[in-house]
Amino acid sequence: MQVRDLYRRYGRVEAVSGVSLEAYPGEILGIVGESGSGKSTVLRLLNLEEPTDGGTYTLDLPDYAGQDLFALDRFAQRDVRTFHIGIVYQNPHLGLRMRYTSSGNVAERLLITGERTFATLREAARDSLAASEFPLDRMDDQPGKLSGGMQQRVQLAKAIALKPRLLLLDEPTTGLDVSVQALVLDTLKRLQRERQITMIMVSHDLGVIRMLADRVIVMRNGKIVESGLTDQVLEDPQDAYTQQLVHAKL
């Protein structure tokens, strides 16, 4: 995945300014920054949820090799977003339909692609939920009745249901109990290993980044201030802001 010179403006505020990054197959790229750094905006742009004010975006996909995804029409973008990208939001209410069943949330992804056999839908939902380490005896519970960690697992199952090559995660464990966080992160690590999915994970939590990310990008006020291998950025930060960020960790 490659993004060049990304720009996004809301009125006079430049939320994202000149961001370029790439992610290699099977790696986990972390994006760190404080609130307002633009990291979540970058993720939304990568999910083709919002129009961009500048920049190009390419994914190494058979049908879209070399094409700027921002320049595609609405239908092609929806196609890419459905089949090739999965996203997990910080707030499960954004990513899930709370009043449907958890298995239904996952099955919807297949329904969108035209799957019309009930048994296939059940099986696919089971597979995805199991891969997200969600207890199958609760697969027909509504997400609204589940704990935060379980809700994130349902989101994850939904995101990987169509076996996308790119998974976007926006603070997936923020707000969860610490012990639950560790479990969810472990599931992500397992998924990366077993399915070779490329993940881009936004977090303000350096512990989470250290645990999962192979490389990390530090953002501030819409710009990238530093990037490198996770251990290097966290242990030998070069930029003044990064040094502050790293040393401020309690």
Binding site: K189, M211, L229, Q244
Partner: protein, 239 residues
């Protein structure tokens, strides 16, 4: 056959908010051949660990070169792209520290087998090999399925070593691997290192009990504190 050619390597830290530069070492030059074992020596706090971390790219060297002859060609570790370093770390260069970073709910056996499964090996073979390594380092079999997050320091270290040494590497960087180990395990470690050395693995190590590895050492790398201004104690500015 030279594996690593370091020339004029130097490292200093720039602490922006204090507006300070802390020198660690400078103008370091040495060559490491395949199958060679070099011991890093110097006073405490002089920067021995820093050297290893610079070679592993956990720290960014500030000057000089470190040409590493990878299977696919020569590459300067100082200026290599992150993705290439990432690759070298999984395939060719290993780092053994005192500290294990266990993940919750991952058993000792899984952690040790991980380098093999990451490289694509099947679980059956990988876990068998992991078992051999854990046996070598004297971790009781009834702990293999347990979670290292609950282990003592010494037990964690055994898992650490097994994991670090299971996958064949070409270059091993060892940062005080024998700290917190009992004597039998230290012996097992040295034996394993000797084995690997005989297979052509090159090693650069810092050892608290240098006498353990006397028989393996081919050369020394002396680290002397940098001549750049070193104000204040290292420990109090750098975490």
């Amino acid at each position: 056959m030279p594996l690593l050619e370091v020339s004029h390597l130097s490292k200093h830290f720039t602490i922006h908010h204090l507006d300070r530069e802390i020198g660690v070492f400078e103008d370091l030059t040495f060559t490491l051949d395949e199958g060679q074992f070099m011991l890093v020596v110097g006073p405490n706090g002089a920067g021995k660990s820093t050297l290893l971390r610079c070679l592993y790219r956990t720290y960014l060297p500030t000057g000089g070169q470190a040409i590493y002859h990878a299977r696919q060609g020569a590459i300067d570790l100082v200026t290599a792209a992150d993705i290439d370093i990432s690759y070298l770390r999984t395939a060719e260069i290993g780092f053994v520290t005192q500290f294990l970073r266990p993940r919750p709910r991952v058993s000792a056996l899984e952690l040790v087998a991980e380098p093999l499964t990451d490289a694509g090996e099947a679980w059956a073979a990988a876990s068998a090999r992991a078992g051999e390594m854990l046996t070598l380092f004297n971790l009781k079999p009834d702990l293999w399925q347990a979670y290292p997050t609950t282990f003592s320091g010494g037990e964690q270290q055994k898992v650490n070593l097994a994991r670090a040494l299971i996958h064949p590497r070409r270059l091993l960087l060892l940062d005080e691997p024998t700290a917190s180990l009992d004597v039998p395990t230290r012996t097992a470690l040295v034996a394993r290192l000797a084995e690997l050395k005989a297979q052509g693995v090159a090693m650069i190590g810092i050892f608290h009990h240098a006498e353990d590895v006397n028989a393996l050492v081919d050369a020394h790398i002396p680290i002397v504190a940098a001549s750049l201004e070193l104000t204040g104690d290292m420990a109090d500015v750098v975490e």
